[in-house]
Structures are given as structure tokens and as C-alpha cells.
Amino acid sequence: MTGPAPTGTPFLQVRDLTVSFRTDDGVVHAVDKLSFSVERGRTLGIVGESGSGKSVTSLAIMGLHRRGRRVGIDGEIRLDGEDLVTAAAERVRGLRGRRMAMIFQDPLSSMHPQFTVGEQIVEAYRVHNRVSRATARRRATELLELVGIPEPARRLDDYPHQFSGGMRQRAMIAMAVSCNPELLIADEPTTALDVTVQAQILDLMRELQKEFNSAIIIITHDLGVVAEISDDILVMYAGQAMEHGPVEEVFAHAEHPYTWGLLQSITRLDRQLETTLRTIPGSPPSLINVPPGCPFHPRCTYRELAGPAASTVRPPLTETSPGHRVACHLPVEQRRRLLREEVTPTL
């Protein structure tokens, strides 16, 4: 929410990204014609339930899912103009960790238990920089200091299990930013952490973004995290974009029934707990048999209002106000009325 206004071409541009996996049970359509972009210095929050394709999208951007016998990837992923989908694997490897880096959900399982924190950071730095071990070690100390780990020179020789959860995630971040990446993808970076530590980690990411002017994608199912750190929000469901736009706009004028559901299911401690938590009825669809038409229609409270098209035609992502795009069959006027009359009072 603090990033600069959009300028020029976006650093990361994803266009019609489709990722599918061939399994014994059938083809899993993990990501389906997804388009978005992120500029330097700005943060995009991608939200959705588990299995909505958030993580697959990020792994595809990082080149950790590649076209192969079992994996199909179509569309474009342009990093600073260069298409990563068609680039050679070795080329993408050279970009990984250097121009784009990733932070994972569980820092304990994501760090190697048998190497010291220092060794792991040094390794990340030395793959992309021809420097001596001593130089890389100095760099690692600086990095640990940068992410706020006390006594960095001493902690360098500790193993991950000797760090606390928050410290581990800080070390993960230090490793990810070791080569000053221009794109940082954080996949649920705070889910495994205590609430107090969560805020610290988000603050740290914001500070680092100011320092490096990097583009950030934060993947989460926590709308609170998105509200706190993102400039833009992308709501995904069944591998497809449901709603996309600036955070303030989407939070204030959400137009997709699925986004409404997500907003309604936020726990509000300032409300009396007279009612049980609201949930979205039903469960996410199998990505092998994605419902035809709007993928959300079987769980949508308002599907009757959308007419028969809901279950036959896939709604296009259409701009309804500047920068705000929604994929829904309901007429715009009706969506706004429903939000005003039925949804807002429940929030």
C-alpha cells in the first residue's frame, strides 16, 4: 500500500499461464490461463484456499516446475521482458536465486538440517558470485545483521535447529536476498510462525523492499497479511483468477462472491462472538474435474441470479473500475447492490 505508482513495463509479467500435471488419475489443471503483473517496488498478494494454484504459480515462475513428460506449461512468464517458459533450463537456473528468489512456508523444513546457516547462505551467494569463501562469509554476516539476527558472526555457525522459528525465517530471508533479487516470492512466509513474529517478518520484508526496490509476490490464505503488506491483490480459485485489483479497491468494493466469502470468514475479535464463524459452503473442486462454466458456481450463493451461463460459460476477467478486474457472470449493478445490501452488513 506504500509502493510507488505503476511506471513503464512491469518487471514480472505473467500472461495466460496454464500449468497442468499428468497423473494416474487424470490431468490436474493446477493453473488455468492466469494473467497478472508485478512492478519493481510493488507487492502483489495472491490469496485463495489450498489447492487454488497459488504455490504452483510461484513454483512455475521460479522454473521449479518445468515442461516435461508429466508437466505441461503454456503461456508466458516474462521476467524483465525475457520469457522463462521457453528459456533453457540452465538459463532459468542462473536467474534463480540471483534475479528472483523465494521464501518458503516452513523455515524448519526448508533449511537443510545438516548444514550450518552460514554454509547455506554462503552457498546461495557463491553460486552466482565469483568470490572467495571468506568474502561470502562476510557477506553472510552482513545479511544476518540486515535481517535483524543478533550476534550474526557467531550465529553463522549454528545449525537451523538451534534457531527459533522467527530467526529461521529471518535466516531464510537473508539467504533469499543474498544476491539482491529484483523479484521476491514469499509462499506463506508467516503461516508457520507466532502472531507476534508474523508482524516482525512482514515489517522486515517491507524494509527490504524499500532497500532493494524489489517486486514482491506474497502468497497467503490470510487476508490480514495481504491488507498489511500488498499493493495489489489477486484472488485465485481452482487455478483461475477471480478478482484482481488494488488492495484498497478490492477490500472496499469486492465484487466476486468468492472474495465476499473470504472476507466474511475473517475472524473479527472486535465483534461479539454471538454467531459461529462464517464459512464458504462446500469444498474446493477437484482440479481434475473442474466444474464447467464459472468454477465457483457449485458453491456460489447467487448462482441462480447469474442464469444458466454460470454452469456453461467461463466468465472472462473484465475490468469494472480502473485496475479492478472481476470474473463473474452477475451483472455489475447487481454485484454492487448485493455487496451493499447483503454482504457489507455481515462484515
Binding site: 523465494m102 550450518t116 553460486v127
Partner: protein
């Protein structure tokens, strides 16, 4: 770390001591309790009463069990005399007993056989460890591929075929048909290292074929597990080359179970690869124990048992220490 190693060593010594007590009970107490005089067994087939009395005196079998065990234990450290008045034999430390059949201390028989067993087991172990682990890694990386399927088939054949079949087949071809190595026999390493290795190659191959399969499968399973770990994904996300991701980040944790099994296998192999030795006519510890069992030469049987136990326990201690080196989480802080 030093305290950790010391602790494990002390633990190992205690276990070894328990094994010696157990062996003593098995060979000296139980036979007598069942009405078999060990002296008769020690003295050879159908001995006369005078011989039996001599043997009883010489071995101290007329003394209490505690005294007998104490004599044995002392012998291990300082040597002992076997004395029946007329017949006196000196068994120097470490005295694991005295074979009256061969009229020499058990220890000297073990010392003679040890180089054969050591050559056989170390060579085969190196071979099956390297081949097993490397093919296992390849299989895991390209699982379901052609290499994986061929390796699985060869593995299955390897564990299923008995040594006396593969060994004889190999001897038939290499020695009798193609005359590549004529008259396979053990040559001392100090005598001629080249001939030593040349003559051992068929035995190494046969023995390692039996083990390679296990290591191949274990490595494969272990690697498949670690390749799916989050930290391997992190390694890739850092932009590390695939060979580093596999050879360092995935392989190192995958080696932990392999080290365990390797330690045990090596310990067991040191007790003598009976079938392999027999097939190739090598006089190693396996051959000695077979002979001892066949001739009821109890001191030798007991000595070899204790010696093998010593190696298995030593291997276990080494495994524990290696564990701590490989995995920092095992290390005491």
C-alpha cells in the same frame, strides 16, 4: 564430541563383556548342566579317562564357574598357562582359548585367517558401497526410467542368486573356460599386491553382488524421500546446479540409514564370509569357524564368535560416531 565417543566406547565394552559372559555360559556352563562334560568335547572323539582328567585339569574345568570365567577373562588381557602337570602350554595375550586339536592358541589361528577375511570384506564392501549407492542415486533421480527398471531386475537377481551358484559360475568361466585367472587362490598383500587383488576380484564380485542390491534399493528409497524434502526445493530455488542439489543436499541426509546398515554388514563380514570363502577356497575366519564346528573344536568356535562380536560392536560404535558427524542434530550440544 570426545565425551560422546567415550560414552559409546564404554557402552561397546560393556556389551562385549556381556557377550563374553553369554558365550562362556553357552560353551562351559550349559553343556555341563545338561550332563555333557566339556572336557570330553575338548579332548576329541572317544578319549580315554586319563585324557579327560588331563584336559579337565588343564582347562581348570574342576574349578568353580566364576573362577573359570575369571581365568578366561584374565587370559584375554595377560595371557594364561594351560597346565595339567605333565603338559604345559602358554597362551599369550590376548588369549581367547587354546585349541587342543591344532595345538595352538585360538588367537594365532585368527591372526593367520584375518588378512584373508579383511581383504575379502574390505574389497567387497568398497565395491558394493560405491556401486550400490551410485546406482541407487541414478535410479532415484530417473525413477521409472529404463535404468531404474534394469537396476531393479539386476538387484532382484543379485539377492536371489546364492553365492555358491554365482561363485562357481564365475570360477567356471574365468578360471576354467577363459583362463583369465588360473587357479584362484589367496596371495598375501605384502607378497604381491597385484596378484593379491587379481586373485580376489572374482570373490569380491560375487560377494558384492549379494550386497549391492540391498544398497541400491536402500539408497533409491532413501533418495526418493529426500528428493521430495523442502530443503531440496530450497536448494533448487537458490539456483544450485542439479549435481549439487542431488550429490550434496539430497544425498547427504539419504546416507544416514546406509551408514547404519553398512556398519552392521561390515561387522558381520568380518566374522567371515563363510560361503564365499568356501567357494573360492580361501582360509579366512569363515573357513576356520566351519572347521571348528565340524570338528567340535569349541575353543575356536568361541574365540571366533567373540572376535566377530568385537567387530560388530566396534562397527556399531563407529556408526554412532559417523552419525554424529553426518547429522548435527544427533550431536550432543
Amino acid at each position: 564430541m570426545a565425551r560422546f565417543i567415550l560414552g559409546r566406547l564404554i557402552g561397546g565394552i560393556v556389551i562385549l563383556w556381556l557377550v563374553s559372559v553369554l558365550a562362556f555360559v553357552l560353551f562351559f556352563v550349559i553343556p555341563k548342566a545338561l550332563g555333557n562334560n566339556p572336557a570330553v568335547l575338548f579332548a576329541g572323539r572317544s578319549p580315554d579317562p586319563a585324557t579327560i582328567a588331563g584336559v579337565t585339569k588343564k582347562l581348570g574345568l574342576d574349578r568353580s564357574y566364576v573362577d573359570q570365567y575369571w581365568d578366561f577373562l584374565r587370559g584375554v588381557f595377560v595371557g594364561r598357562h594351560f597346565d595339567s602337570g605333565s603338559d604345559r602350554s602358554w597362551c599369550p595375550a590376548p588369549c581367547l582359548g587354546y585349541s587342543f586339536r591344532n595345538d595352538q592358541p585360538v588367537w594365532s589361528q585368527i591372526v593367520d585367517a584375518l588378512p584373508v577375511t579383511a581383504s575379502l570384506s574390505f574389497g567387497a564392501a568398497a565395491l558394493f558401497l560405491v556401486i550400490g549407492v551410485s546406482t541407487g542415486v541414478f535410479s532415484a533421480v530417473r525413477r521409472g526410467g529404463l535404468f531404474d527398471r534394469i537396476a531393479a531386475a539386476v538387484s532382484l537377481a543379485g539377492v536371489s542368486l546364492p553365492v555358491y551358484f554365482t561363485g562357481l559360475l564365475l570360477l567356471l568361466l574365468v578360471s576354467y573356460k577363459w583362463h583369465i585367472i588360473d587357479n584362484v587362490h589367496y596371495v598375501n598383500f605384502t607378497h604381491n599386491p597385484a596378484l593379491w587383488a587379481w586373485n580376489l576380484i572374482p570373490a569380491w564380485l560375487v560377494l558384492s553382488l549379494l550386497y549391492t542390491a540391498n544398497y541400491q534399493r536402500l539408497t533409491r528409497a532413501s533418495m526418493i524421500e529426500t528428493l521430495g524434502e523442502d530443503y531440496v526445493r530450497t536448494a533448487r530455488a537458490k539456483g544450485l546446479p542439479e549435481r549439487t542439489v542431488i550429490g550434496k543436499h539430497a544425498l547427504r541426509p539419504a546416507l544416514t540409514p546406509i551408514v547404519t546398515i553398512f556398519g552392521l554388514d561390515l561387522g558381520v563380514l568380518f566374522g567371515g564370509a563363510i560361503l564365499t570363502e568356501h567357494t573360492f577356497g580361501f582360509r579366512g575366519l569363515g573357513a576356520i569357524s566351519i572347521d571348528a564346528v565340524n570338528t567340535q573344536d569349541l575353543p575356536v568356535t568361541m574365540g571366533v564368535t567373540l572376535f566377530a562380536a568385537f567387530f560388530i560392536i566396534l562397527a556399531n560404535v563407529l556408526v554412532d560416531v559417523t552419525y554424529a558427524i553426518i547429522d548435527p542434530r544427533v550431536r550432543p550440544s
